[in-house]
């Protein structure tokens, strides 16, 4: 398997209805970029780490916006959490994704973890473990495009593109041009009995 | 009641007829009051004779006894078996062969003819008292160190010569020992893949060639056990053409199975000589059909479970075969058009009896012949179930395999040992 191949969107996209169109998605990213600049005092000593696969593209877009707004582009990278997941024995095998940290590492930095959807919080729990095995950041923050609720661990996001109340029988599809034919967020029926991820 | 009539039986595959016998002999007409057995569609053959059976008693009664082994033989359609000498103690004295012979008499499921060891303790060093065994109550005529090759050329020559005095025969287990040290399976493509030590065909062929030359030189009878290779067949054909008095047997498993089965590493397929290639199987079938190979012999080799439930190299050689022999021969020879039923009778009864010098066995089913008869249903199909076998051991390579034909009844001297497929 080539490095960084995205997992396909699960569930039936054709049966889903849009909750964010491409423009709205772009504005949400811009707003988060502003908020990060504000909270990190201009993004100095800040690192954006995306969680594969769509979190990596989002982290890159955020860094690009921050660069446009302030002229400073924070380093970005990717952090695969597969080996730290607590549900490996409950699911089929997952191929490893890329972990690619900036050359200066994360020691003493403000690390902003970036993911597409915040759901149970377990992925972020695994990401914190994975991150702390690589070094000791000064602070860790979390940015997500969509928060759909249903937390199973005490984790909250510092930056949220859009809160979308959902039922457990629904699936959130985040589409990004890097991987999909367009930008947008869709809400549709769940594909099966997937537990929150 | 000792008179029976098989109504509609096809004797050796001939037209349906009434086959009758009374007082242990075949008769031309059924006497009044004979029991009638509906044999419509069944084939009647003279009782089968096995030249090569391991009954394991004395010594390994956990694997087989004369009682359980002869029950298996009767179910397989046999009325006589030759019990191999590699027991513990070895059947190398008149005392041991008489013990085995008596156990067979007591069991009563088929005639048991002990094979005497050629050398003391199968040690390959000193001739056993062959004459004493021949003169004993067991009247031994076949001598073999089976399991071991009589490797010493001088000893082999002497044995061949010596048994002429009582019309005996040496049955050679042809295996050059140095070429087969630690050998595990046929040497070839599969052994190379599996990393198992190879047993080259040349190790069998070299001994057969030597012994044929020796037998020709001294004018003795020689019998070759479990021939397994193309090359062996070629040598036998050459020797017979030269008038050398050599006979040979092939096992059912060498007529059907190949070394590819070893890829499972399941030692149920581990046997000596080893399963060979498809080309060998074809040559053996052809040789049995044209008479180059005289007889089918089972080499029934029961082993206790713990001797097979191991890694391949640690497992014992051998497979049970009495209860499946006829079906395998049908699959390999009859269904492929190589032998008709008369041919089956010849290779599994007449010729082996002649090689073993058993005057009361292997006789055509004509008036006056002993009433050793097996009735076979040629249309039956059965899936081999090891758990259902009469043998004390379960090491059949055919488990789960569907085989053609089934033994319906076996009669020993006019008395049923198997009726309706079950022991009486």
């Amino acid at each position: 398997m080539p490095r960084g191949t995205p997992r396909p969107v699960t569930g039936d996209v054709s049966a889903a209805r849009p909750v964010l169109d491409g423009d709205e998605l772009g504005r949400a990213i811009s707003r988060i970029a502003h908020e990060i600049l504000e909270r990190t005092h201009g993004g100095t000593d800040t690192v954006l780490l995306g969680i594969p696969t769509r979190g990596v593209a989002l982290a890159t877009r955020l860094a690009d916006r921050m660069s446009t707004f302030e002229g400073v582009r924070p380093p970005t990278g990717s952090l695969d959490v597969t080996l730290h997941r607590d549900d490996l024995h409950l699911r089929g095998l997952r191929a490893l994704q890329v972990t690619d940290l900036p050359v200066d590492g994360v020691d003493g930095k403000v690390v902003v973890l970036v993911d597409d959807v915040l759901f149970s919080g377990r992925t972020i729990r695994a990401a914190l473990d994975a991150l702390l095995d690589t070094g000791r950041p000064r602070a860790v923050q979390l940015a997500v495009l969509v928060d759909r609720g249903h937390r199973e661990v005490p984790i909250r996001a510092d930056y949220v593109g859009k809160n979308i109340p959902t039922s457990l029988r629904e699936t959130v599809h985040v589409l990004l041009r890097e991987y999909d034919d367009r930008d947008g967020v869709l809400l549709g029926p769940a594909s099966g009995v997937d537990a929150p991820a | 009641m000792s008179a029976w009539v098989f109504r509609g039986a096809r004797v050796c595959g001939g037209p349906p007829t009434d086959l009758a016998f009374a007082d242990g002999r075949v008769v031309a007409e059924a006497p009044v009051g004979a029991q009638v057995y509906d044999a419509d569609g069944l084939i009647a053959l003279p009782g089968l004779v096995d030249l090569h059976t391991h009954l394991r008693e004395p010594g390994r009664e956990d694997a087989e006894t004369v009682e359980t082994g002869t029950r298996a033989a009767a179910l397989g359609g046999f009325t006589a078996v030759h019990a191999m000498a590699n027991t513990d103690p070895v059947a190398d004295t008149a005392g041991v062969v008489e013990q085995v012979w008596r156990l067979g008499q007591v069991a009563g499921h088929c005639d048991v003819h002990p094979v005497g060891a050629v050398t003391v303790g199968l040690g390959g060093q000193q001739l056993a008292e062959l004459g004493a065994m021949a003169d004993s109550a067991a009247r031994v005529r076949v001598f073999s160190d089976d399991g071991h090759c009589v490797d010493d050329a001088v000893l082999m020559r002497r044995a061949l010569e010596y048994v002429r005095a009582f019309d005996g025969v040496i049955a050679q287990h042809a295996q050059e020992p140095r070429l087969t040290e630690d050998a595990q399976m046929n040497e070839g493509v599969i052994s190379a893949q599996l990393g198992l030590v190879g047993w080259p065909a040349a190790a069998e062929e070299a001994v057969i060639a030597r012994d044929c030359l020796l037998a020709g030189h001294v004018g003795s009878r020689l019998h070759i056990c479990h021939v397994s290779t193309v090359g062996s067949v070629d040598i036998l054909r050459w020797a017979k053409a030269r008038g050398i008095r050599v006979t040979a047997e092939v096992t059912p498993h060498h007529l059907l199975l190949t070394d590819e089965l070893a890829t499972s590493y399941d030692p149920v397929f581990k046997v000596n000589p080893p399963l060979r290639t498809a080309a060998d199987v074809t040559a053996l079938r052809d040789a049995l059909a044209d008479g180059t190979i005289d007889a089918v012999a089972t080499d029934h080799a029961p082993h206790a479970l713990e001797d097979k439930e191991t890694e391949w190299a640690a497992a014992a050689f051998g497979m049970v075969g009495l209860e499946t022999a006829l079906s395998v021969v049908v699959a390999a020879m009859v269904d492929t058009g190589r032998l008709d039923w008369a041919g089956v009778a010849d290779r599994m009864s007449l010729r082996p009896a002649r090689i073993g010098r058993l005057s009361g066995q292997g006789r055509p089913l004509e008036p006056g012949a002993p009433a050793h008869v097996v009735l076979v249903d040629p249309a039956a199909r059965r899936v081999v179930d090891p758990a259902a076998m009469a043998s004390r051991s379960r090491n059949t390579p055919y488990a789960g395999r569907q085989l053609p034909a089934a033994v319906v009844a076996t009669f020993l001297s006019g008395r049923p040992t198997v009726l309706d497929g079950k022991l009486t």
């Binding site: 080996l83 024995h89 409950l90 699911r91 997952r94 | 893949q193 599996l194 191991t310």
Partner: protein
């Protein structure tokens, strides 16, 4: 992936590449200060070694521990038969302990296949008799790919005791699957009957092969083979099939020299070759951990269905 890793021949091209790619990600983790991962927490890996091999056992042990599996080492010298306890009894004991994976090294070819029939956990063949050693082949392929950047079309010569070598069998099968062009080189006595059916070319002439290879893999040749008359003397073997400095000089400039260890310096490989910059012998050991982590992760990382 199959449930077990018994033979390199059981791996499809996709399976083999998945293992190599996974090992690459895991190798990066082995470069950082904190090497331990929680991935296989609560899983039990048994190292069942019926044959001495400290190197292979340690490699698997480190791999399993880096993934946080519980590791039980079960070593017993000699064959199970001579110990009185059968392989099956050992299998039933491990089954009762609830082993999720059993890494087995055994002197009998096919012993891992037998265990796979008796144990519900995953079986990893860590070398069985003269049959196979699939993780060695995987780490060799991984090492070639790291050094030379590719496997497809790579010309690999495997030199030495092909007849008795489990490393050779696994490498021929795996490298063929991965698109390399393999030749085996040995005196005819150390070539199995039936080698003609293997997916490789066969040569008895090392000097003819060397200028045309990207990788030369030297196999250990045991001096005891002389007793079996496989070759007349260690000196003659070394002269005809040993890799010394003048022979190494005939290799293409980029070619690498591999050896699965343990080496017989002065027999199949000269000391200056073993210690040269072309030699990957130390790397192979390090890469072994990453590859075995990948195998354990891929066999145990998902649900058991």
């Amino acid at each position: 992936m199959n449930r077990h890793l018994l033979s390199a021949g059981d791996l499809s091209r996709d399976d083999a590449l998945l293992i190599v790619h996974t090992a690459e990600e895991l190798a990066r983790i082995s470069d950082r200060p904190i090497k331990k991962l929680p991935t296989l927490r609560g899983r039990t890996v048994v190292n069942l070694f019926f044959e001495d091999s400290t190197r292979t056992r340690l490699s698997f042990e480190v791999a399993a521990k880096r993934l946080s599996a519980d590791v039980i080492n079960f070593s017993t010298k000699g064959s199970s038969v001579s110990k009185g306890e059968s392989l099956k009894d050992t299998a039933l004991t491990l089954e009762a302990m609830g082993a999720d994976a059993v890494v087995v090294r055994h002197s009998a070819s096919g012993a891992p296949h037998r265990l796979a029939g008796w144990i519900s956990g995953a079986i990893v063949n860590a070398g069985d008799g003269t049959h196979e050693h699939p993780t060695q082949a995987l780490l060799d392929a991984f090492t070639m790919r790291r050094r030379l950047g590719r496997l497809e079309g790579l010309r690999v010569a495997i030199v030495g005791d092909i007849l008795h070598s489990r490393v050779a069998r696994s490498n021929v099968l795996l490298l063929d699957t991965l698109g390399a062009e393999v030749s085996v080189v040995a005196p005819p006595t150390l070539m199995p009957v039936g080698v003609g059916s293997w997916p490789c070319t066969v040569s008895f002439d090392l000097d003819a092969v060397l200028p045309k290879c990207d990788v030369v893999m030297m196999l250990r040749v045991q001096r005891e083979r002389m007793a079996g008359a496989y070759f007349p003397s260690a000196r003659e073997y070394s002269r005809r099939y040993g890799l010394d400095a003048p022979r190494m000089a005939t290799l293409p400039d980029t070619a690498i020299v591999m050896h699965p260890g343990p080496m017989n310096r002065g027999m199949e490989i000269a000391a200056e070759v073993a210690d040269s910059v072309r030699s990957t012998i130390v790397e192979q050991v390090a890469n072994g951990v990453a590859v075995r982590m990948a195998v354990l992760y891929l066999l145990l990382g998902g649900d058991s269905s």
